[in-house]
């Protein structure tokens, strides 16, 4: 029996009625010569079918590490998941054996990366790399697998798919390469797609094409999408909900309309205010003072307190602020969320 899809459906504890994806209190640390870098410090969020969750944050906030932990591709050592759960349909993926984990990857949860050129193998044609998925995971013959590869390239709107299937990654433009990677991620019909900065390396007109393609494919397949990005414009365009990360924690979680209308955490507010806006032309931008903390030395209490205009004594003391329920379906880790919401 070579059809791995069937095997995935008999994972122990799989409950089709359980949430599609649920991350609980995830902790990841990197043990390095310079000390222990706490990259993720209790991240929690969930994802429903057909939904787009944006994970928003700046460099070093732990958003990519979280994605790697969900996918099971965290480099270890130095990375270690020290606590938490990653539940897919009720099954805690962190407790699976590696061979079981492999079956989930690509079949149920797939991922695309920022840099398609380094994510694709330069010495194989894109057709070979796509067909390999069908041969390894579905036991297809060479010929059938190649035909499926052509169909997929067609679905991601690569012109002349029948001939381009024989091209190597370097023969594609940046945007076309990103389409190839999307085709590869979607080959085995995953229920969850994690897109880590998928358009950051692309020009804005190509970005629009790729985001349009992702939205189209998501609709067709009712797929859950986790979009990891630092771009608040892209988020406003496509996300249903947002989790804002800072120093390895989700500091605010809210439906997209609510968060742009009235942010509930000072960091979210500061991020939104630092975007250049038309009505602020000729004025100073509102910059966030200082720098994000080193992950080897995260401040006590709220990690944002040294940069925060709202910070008072309780913010500087452990424990860190809990995730306050500030409105229906909204949480913020700020003791003073009422003041932030009111401003």
């Amino acid at each position: 029996m070579t059809d791995i899809k069937a095997q995935v459906d008999v994972l122990p504890g799989l409950d089709p009625r359980a949430p599609l994806l649920q991350i609980n209190d995830l902790h990841v640390e990197f043990r390095t010569r310079d000390g222990v870098a706490k990259a993720v410090n209790g991240a929690s969020f969930w994802l429903n079918p057909g939904e787009t969750l944006a994970i928003l944050g700046e460099s070093g906030c732990g958003k990519s590490v979280t994605a790697q932990a969900i996918m099971g591709i965290l480099e270890s050592p130095p990375g270690h998941i020290t606590r938490g759960e990653v539940r897919y349909r009720g099954v805690d993926l962190l407790k699976l054996r590696e061979d079981e984990r492999r079956r989930v990857r690509a079949n149920k949860i797939a991922m695309i990366f920022q840099d398609a050129l380094s994510a694709l193998n330069p010495v194989y044609t894109v057709g070979f790399q796509l067909a390999e998925l069908f041969r390894a995971h579905r036991g297809m013959s060479r010929g059938d697998a190649k035909n499926r590869a052509i169909e997929l390239l067609d679905q991601v709107h690569i012109p002349g798919a029948r001939s381009r299937v024989n091209d190597y990654p370097h023969q594609f433009s940046g945007g076309m390469r990103q389409r190839v990677m999307i085709a590869m991620a979607l080959a085995l019909d995953p229920e969850v797609l994690i897109a880590d900065e998928p358009t950051t390396a692309l020009d804005v007109t190509v970005q629009a094409q790729i985001m349009g393609l992702l939205a189209e494919l998501q609709r067709q397949r009712n797929m859950g999408l986790i979009l990891i990005t630092h771009d608040m414009g892209v988020v406003a365009d496509v996300a249903d909900r947002i989790s804002v990360m800072y120093a390895g924690r989700v500091v605010e979680e809210a439906p997209v309309y609510d968060i742009y209308a009235a942010p509930g955490h000072p960091y979210t507010r500061a991020l939104l205010e630092s975007i250049p806006r038309l009505d602020l032309k000729g004025q100073q931008l509102t910059a966030i003072r200082g720098l994000p903390p080193a992950l080897t030395d995260i401040p006590q209490g709220c990690a944002f307190n040294p940069r925060c205009g709202y910070a008072k004594e309780p913010c500087r003391q452990d424990p860190a602020p809990p995730a306050y329920a500030i409105a229906p379906r909204r949480t913020a880790r700020c003791h003073f969320f009422r003041e932030v919401l009111g401003d």
Binding site: V206, A208, Q209, V234, D237, Y257, Y260, L278, I288
Partner: protein, 321 residues
């Protein structure tokens, strides 16, 4: 027109393999002004930057700084003229020598241009520069790796300021930085402009950053300027289809506009600069293209329906936002 500090005339740079990176650019920069240059990868904007500061030699055409043709100067004359036009580079991680202290990096221009500041006063001058860009003057003996990305970009800015230039060419100065740090650096550049009366060429692909900082904007496509005008004209009344498509593709950080925003999604990719289309270079991706666009190259000029210069036979105001 005495307040023009920088001007290019029919500036051309072709590379080996027939790559027409910059293919006939005329621009003017006035004192105290910021001219934004926007365009996508491969449009020639970084080559243009290098031509302006003399890091590339043009194939033809001229770069005039205060009426002096930089491309004809040699030796000492060239060095002296170059003081007036300096550059800030994109990547603060690779544009600073990791083996030099910050003091040596910022002070190096004084070594090359030894008559600007006498030797005994150089350390003080470097410390003043550190202070000017918001860094601690006591950190003069630190190395680049001891600074964050935003701080390194400040070091690059201090180096550009050392010879008290009138003009600074900024090539993607904030695109490697996180948004919260971007805002700090943009604020710094604006303050320095006011304090020192600087003129900026501000090259970037981020249209909202360019709009914030620029007085006038030039839009580049495949080695040419396709539209040019005051920021308000370009952003509110674009007349070239490429500018319109570019503006419409920028995601707006306001979810209420979702689905109400008219988006022009361009088909395909930018053609190779080694083999640009005949006539109008944008015609292969343009929804307005007619036979005339393949035959006749549209000139960058004011047109019946374009109150500012636009290089399109069918230029017409089309509000995007």
């Amino acid at each position: 027109m005495t307040d023009v500090v920088l001007e290019t005339r029919d500036l051309v740079k072709h590379f080996k393999g027939g790559i027409r990176a910059v293919d006939g650019i005329d621009l003017q920069l006035r004192r105290g002004e910021t001219l934004g240059v926007v365009g996508e990868s491969g449009c020639g904007k970084s080559t243009l930057a290098k031509l302006l500061v003399g890091l590339e030699t043009p194939t033809s055409g001229s770069v005039m700084v205060r009426g002096q043709d930089m491309t004809r100067l040699r030796g000492g004359e060239m060095r002296r003229a170059r003081r007036n036009i300096q550059m800030v580079l994109q990547d603060p991680y690779t544009s600073l020598n990791p083996r030099m202290t910050v003091g040596d990096i910022i002070g190096e221009p004084f070594e090359i241009h030894s008559d600007v500041v006498p030797r005994g006063k150089r350390q003080q001058a470097v410390q003043d520069l550190l202070d000017t860009v918001g860094l601690n003057p006591d950190h003069i003996n630190r190395y680049p790796h001891q600074f964050s990305g935003g701080q390194r970009q400040r070091i690059g800015i201090a180096r550009a300021l050392a010879l008290r230039p009138e003009i600074i060419v900024c090539d993607e100065p904030v695109s490697a930085l996180d948004v919260s740090i971007q805002a700090q650096v943009i604020n710094l550049l604006e303050r320095l402009q006011d304090d020192f009366g600087l003129s900026y060429i501000f090259i970037a692909h981020d249209l909202s950053v360019v709009r914030h900082i620029s007085d006038r904007v030039a839009v580049m496509y495949l080695g040419k300027i396709v539209e040019q005008g005051h920021d308000v004209a370009i952003y509110n009344q674009p007349t070239h289809p490429y500018t319109q498509a570019l503006l419409s593709a920028v995601p707006v950080p306001d979810p209420r506009l979702r689905g109400h925003r008219r988006q022009i999604v361009l088909e395909g990719d930018v053609p190779s600069p080694a083999d640009p289309p005949s006539g109008c270079r944008f015609r292969t991706r343009c929804w307005k293209a007619q036979p005339v666009c393949a035959e006749q190259e549209p000139v960058l000029q004011i047109r019946e329906r374009s109150p500012h210069p636009s290089a399109c036979h069918f230029a017409e105001i089309n509000r995007i936002h």
